[in-house]
């Protein structure tokens, strides 16, 4: 392989391979992204209940005459370019996409990218925190239960993880709100939004505490499912690694159990878990639609839900594109990490 910048040293060659690999994957991501946006575009345009009809319902209070309603529909269609055939509309949308122009929201005429940029940090804060927590908790659990296989604690852990895995998160969220959020039952946690009403008057540390206190329930709901699946994978991976010849060799050399487990078995078992990161991110973004609506958190999930309800095409398209982009980046990062940690995998 010829490196684009022509460097010939061995280390540089390796780095160059990574760079070429990333470039090629990014190129491959383009048709994928086109496919995703095209499918979404066609589906939402074909579905009944156009934004033009919504405009009649919203703005046409008291309008009884069908002719006037029809006129409003036609005007709205023209305004948003909905009178053109779908392929033409899609090409127009793509043209604007190249300059990162997602158009303006039908609802409040604001720039779509601006609206998303406002909401994305909130959602990323939630999902990145819970991904971090998932790995922080799941890896020790996986290692522990694999090194204590068939013990009582391993069985208890396995069964509890299985239960966690099957618990619907919208049910858990509703239970939390019911039993820990006031009403007839305990009132431990706030169940609404990201900060309290008196947030502005709080001192710095009280602000931090207030924010964290608001995040406890939503993050728990987002975290436990991923936790269950990652620790299960972690356990299986460790069990496989422990049975390998090199672990037996390490034991035979007289290395301590700690070194054998953490230096030999663990390092090898962690590789496949890394790739799961890529599947976790889209799942979190999807899950945030429900969790954010339940806890009234002003993130992307809530924006997505609202834009679907109000048939806000530009916002729906913007969110689909950006979350697909994030997913593609996640998969790419996982693959690159995979290749970097495992020398057997070639980037060619």
């Amino acid at each position: 392989m010829v490196c684009p910048d022509g460097t010939a040293e061995v280390r540089a060659g390796e780095r160059c391979a990574v760079r070429v690999y990333i470039a090629r994957r990014l190129l491959l991501a383009v048709p994928t992204l086109l496919g995703i946006t095209a499918i979404t575009f066609v589906i939402i345009q074909l579905a009944p209940g156009s934004p033009a009809a919504m405009a009649v319902r919203l703005g046409g209070e008291g309008v009884r005459s069908d002719a006037i309603a029809q006129e409003i529909v036609e005007q709205t269609k023209k305004l948003y370019g909905l009178d053109k055939p779908i392929p033409v509309q899609y090409v127009l949308w793509l043209k604007r996409l190249v300059t990162f122009d997602f158009g303006t929201s039908y609802k409040d005429q604001r720039n779509v990218l601006e609206k998303i940029a406002e909401r994305l940090p909130v959602s990323l804060q939630l999902s990145l925190t819970s991904i971090f927590l998932v790995y922080l908790i799941a890896i020790p659990i996986g290692v522990y239960s694999s090194t204590h296989q068939h013990s009582l604690s391993d069985n208890v852990i396995t069964v509890s993880l299985f239960i966690l895995y099957s618990l619907p998160n919208f049910w858990v969220a509703t239970l939390f709100i019911m039993f820990l959020g006031g009403g007839d039952f305990l009132n431990v946690f706030p169940i609404y939004g990201l900060v309290s009403d008196n947030y502005a008057q709080l001192t710095f540390w009280a602000k931090v505490g207030d924010r964290l206190w608001h995040l406890v329930l939503p993050i728990t709901c987002l975290t436990y499912g991923g936790l269950a699946s990652i620790s299960r994978f972690g356990r299986v991976g460790m069990l496989e690694a422990i049975r390998q010849d090199y672990v037996r060799t390490a034991r035979a050399k007289g290395l301590s159990e700690k070194v054998v487990i953490f230096k030999h078995a663990f390092r090898n078992s962690i590789i496949p878990i890394v790739t799961l990161l890529a599947t976790l991110l889209p799942a979190m973004l999807g899950g945030s639609v429900i969790i954010e609506s339940i806890f009234s958190i002003p993130g992307m999930g809530q924006l997505a839900f609202e834009s679907i309800l109000s048939r806000d095409y530009p916002v729906i398209m913007g969110i689909t594109t950006i979350s697909a982009l994030l997913t593609l980046i996640g998969i790419l990062l996982a693959d690159v990490c995979y290749a970097l940690v495992d020398p057997r995998i070639s980037l060619e």
């Binding site: 979404t40 579905a47 239960i163 049910w171 039952f185 973004l285 689909t320």
Partner: protein, 331 residues
Amino acid sequence: MKRTSQGYWAITWRQFRKRQLPMRGLVLVVLLGLVALLAPLLANNRPLIMRYQGTYYFPVFREHPRFRNVDFDELAATFEKGDFAVFPPVPYTPTQYDLTEHLQEPSKKHLLGTDDRGRDVLSRMIYGTRISLSVGFVAVGIYIAIGTVLGAIAGYYAGKVDMIISRFIEIMICFPTFFLIIAVIAFLPPSIYNIMIVIGITGWTRVARLVRGEFFRLKGQDFVTSARGLGATHFGIIFRHVLRNALGPVFVSATFGVAGAILTESALSFLGFGVPPPTPSWGDILSQSRQYIEFAWWLTVFPGAAIFLTITAYNLVGEGLRDAIDPRLRQ
């Protein structure tokens, strides 16, 4: 004595039976299936069997013109000597409402309480089983069909066909699936069939990848070569010979898939995009509970527990099946 060798499914069953938890899951799966099938016999305001003025009637099974507009509870009060009526265990239909009894806590009369229109929650949950299971099975049926055909074609023909299908699979994987499902469902008129179709169309990628892999593994084996030598068509080889050997993993995936589809359906109903009212579904009861979240714990706890138990049961069976078909775990 003649001993025949055991078939694939017999061996799988023997392996499956050895494990306790998956067997319990299977029992639960069968019970839930029975509840769904027998829902009208379990929750109904008409008696299963009734003797009235010397004649026997079976009002649940057959509607008698004589009792068309009769309230059987009132009728039972006028019974003469020798008359009797045996009601189903839950003597309410899922849509029968009584506003004077709305939002009642669980009691002897309404074992799991009532909702905001005074409908019996247990009766609604029994009928909700039908919605959940039918969505689970039909949706998974659809995506198994799509996934198997596409995966088989990709794996069998390889080359360019495989490249196109694989790219398509990759596109579907990067989709924010749940978001897409909500978007589509929100735009379509509410109906159970739309939910089944949308979950089916978005869920096939895992099966397709699985079948594709199995075909890559199997198509070079001797039995395929000999089938081809005997003049079998491509169609025959794919569906009669190779596919049959790839079905095990597909079944495992289908079992987990039913759990996933039930979860998706209840999440949709929870968000208000489920089956149209007054059809009862678990997610729908759960979503109603949000209006009375200060006190109506029975509207939250019971339907959620039903969803959870069903998902757990199918996941347990899936795990057991996966281990049972894995030759490495066989003793």
